[in-house]
């Protein structure tokens, strides 16, 4: 018996076969926009003196087998970079640290007096931007610096002071801070924020990061000014010396479960601060970051700064990236940076008023 299958029927069958090959992934249902509030829950501080015999944490893996560092993280911290002069131990007790936090909270909640300069600002607490409303990197350290062991920055080389003096003289040549936009801080100009580093530093508020691991590269996105640093993991050679960047150029590799990132080629214009009275870092700095997931909620973030043009020896600090919730909403800074026009315009208005008062005075 012969079948007379119409061309049309065969076309239909063929179409069904072809579209069946196109597997559409199940799309998760759209949830409501509201997410639960980020809380600074009073968790037991994760970073404390190690308990003997504790089983080491093993980070979950990404699909391609790397330790999973992905997600949203906060490095907001109450731990100062340098140990205070009257403290000589590595860790607070839990009681002591509660007081550190409480004192900071009280400072956050201090009230400014109307008619004072300090009062000329929106209220941080109203927008959730004071530190006590952030996800805090939980730890009991008395300083971020762990080496030198006294928890303080090492001494500086003479070249550092000379460089700082030259920079100050140059700044003076350029005039007052509001004479032109180029004299204003790079953060106010929306060029870069200190939190981007590297090293990643507590930005004061919105100190949030998004880490995304792809094949052969890791992206670390700093919230403010959407600073995305993409770190290649493919053992490529060191970058050519001629290309200097605000965030330098990074090269990454895994050492066991630790992501090690070495960054050089800084242009020196977003330096690491020199602490009390010290000069900031130079364009010869080399920063080595070590990211290690130490719990479901924390990445230990250890960084070493080597800058023979600034410090007599390398120094190392530890902070923590604490799991937090997203999103990181687009921090388009320059686009709505009305403040610059307002500040420059205000300075010009003040000068005009002063000039008129002078010429109009009897």
């Amino acid at each position: 018996m012969r079948f007379r299958i119409s061309a049309g029927a065969l076309v239909v069958v063929a179409m069904m076969w072809l579209t069946a090959k196109t597997t559409a992934d199940q799309q998760t249902g759209g949830a409501s926009a509201a997410k639960p509030a980020a809380t600074t829950t009073a968790k037991p501080a994760a970073a404390a003196p190690a308990k003997p015999g504790a089983k080491p944490y093993r980070a979950p893996r990404t699909p391609d087998g790397q330790p999973d560092l992905g997600g949203f993280w906060s490095n907001a911290t109450y731990t100062p970079l340098e140990r205070a002069q009257n403290i000589n131990k590595e860790y607070y007790t839990e009681e002591e640290f509660k007081k550190v936090v409480a004192d900071a909270r009280n400072r956050d909640e201090e009230q400014t007096t109307p008619g004072t300069t300090a009062d000329v600002h929106y209220d941080f607490t109203q927008f959730g931007l004071d530190k006590s409303q952030h996800t805090i990197a939980q730890n009991l350290r008395t300083s971020q610096i762990v080496d030198p062991p006294d928890g303080r920055l090492p001494p500086q080389v003479p070249a550092a002071a000379a460089r700082a003096q030259a920079a100050a003289a140059e700044r003076k040549q350029q005039g007052g801070q509001y004479d032109k936009v180029q004299n204003m801080p790079t953060g106010s100009r929306c060029i870069i924020m200190g939190g981007a580093g590297p090293p990643l530093r507590d930005a004061g508020y919105n100190s949030t990061y998004h880490i995304v691991q792809g094949q052969g590269a890791v992206m670390v996105l700093t919230e403010m000014i959407h600073d995305a640093r993409i770190i290649p993991l493919d053992n490529r050679p060191a970058p050519a010396a001629g290309l200097k960047q605000w965030v330098g150029m990074s090269r990454g590799r895994w050492e066991g479960d630790t992501l090690v990132v070495e960054t050089t080629n800084f242009n020196g214009r977003n330096p690491i601060g020199g602490g009390r009275g010290g000069a900031p870092s130079s364009d010869q700095a080399k920063v080595t970051e070590r990211f290690t997931r130490i719990s479901d909620d924390q990445i230990e973030y250890k960084f070493t700064v080597e800058d023979p043009q600034t410090w007599t020896r390398p120094w190392t600090a530890v902070n923590y990236l604490q799991k937090t919730n997203g999103p990181i909403f687009e921090f388009a800074c320059h686009e709505s940076n009305i403040g610059v026009s307002g500040i420059l315009g205000g300075a010009r208005a003040d000068e005009k008023r002063a000039a008129e008062a002078k010429s109009g005075s009897k």
Binding site: E109, P185, G204
Partner: protein
């Protein structure tokens, strides 16, 4: 009347942390807005521009259009605030300081709703309730 700020905390905190390039030059606000020209406005919200580095409340105040500077919306967004949270036409009372450059702008030291409660967050310190 006293108010909160984290300005002092930010300056102190940042000094302690030794952060080199500070997130925001807070003293710049006093360069932009006039400490000698405090204002208290009541008006209706036309639009809340949820932008960075600072958000802007566009308000109709006695028939004039003003822009009032507020904080970054990013932390509020993480807590579920969206562009639909404050309705257009909401009455807002704003205490702040006028811009120095003569434009119709001010910084909002406090944003208060018609019922006396604070917009968004904060206000748990004693004496904070502003009526």
């Amino acid at each position: 009347m006293t108010r909160r700020t984290a300005l002092i905390a930010a300056v102190v905190g940042i000094a302690l942390l030794g952060v080199g390039s500070v997130a925001w030059a807070h003293h710049a606000f006093a360069a932009e807005f006039d400490v000698n020209k405090p204002v208290k406005f009541e008006g209706k919200l036309v639009k809340w521009d949820m932008v960075n580095p600072h958000s802007w409340f566009h308000m109709d105040i006695k028939g004039e259009r003003w822009m009032i500077e507020g904080g970054s919306p990013n932390q509020l967004i993480r807590q579920g605030v969206t562009k639909n949270t404050i309705k257009i036409g909401t009455t807002l009372i704003v205490e702040g300081y006028l811009a120095k450059d003569g434009t119709m702008k001010a910084v909002g030291r406090n944003f208060i709703l018609a019922d006396g409660s604070r917009l968004f967050l904060g206000g748990s310190a004693p004496g904070q309730q502003l009526k």
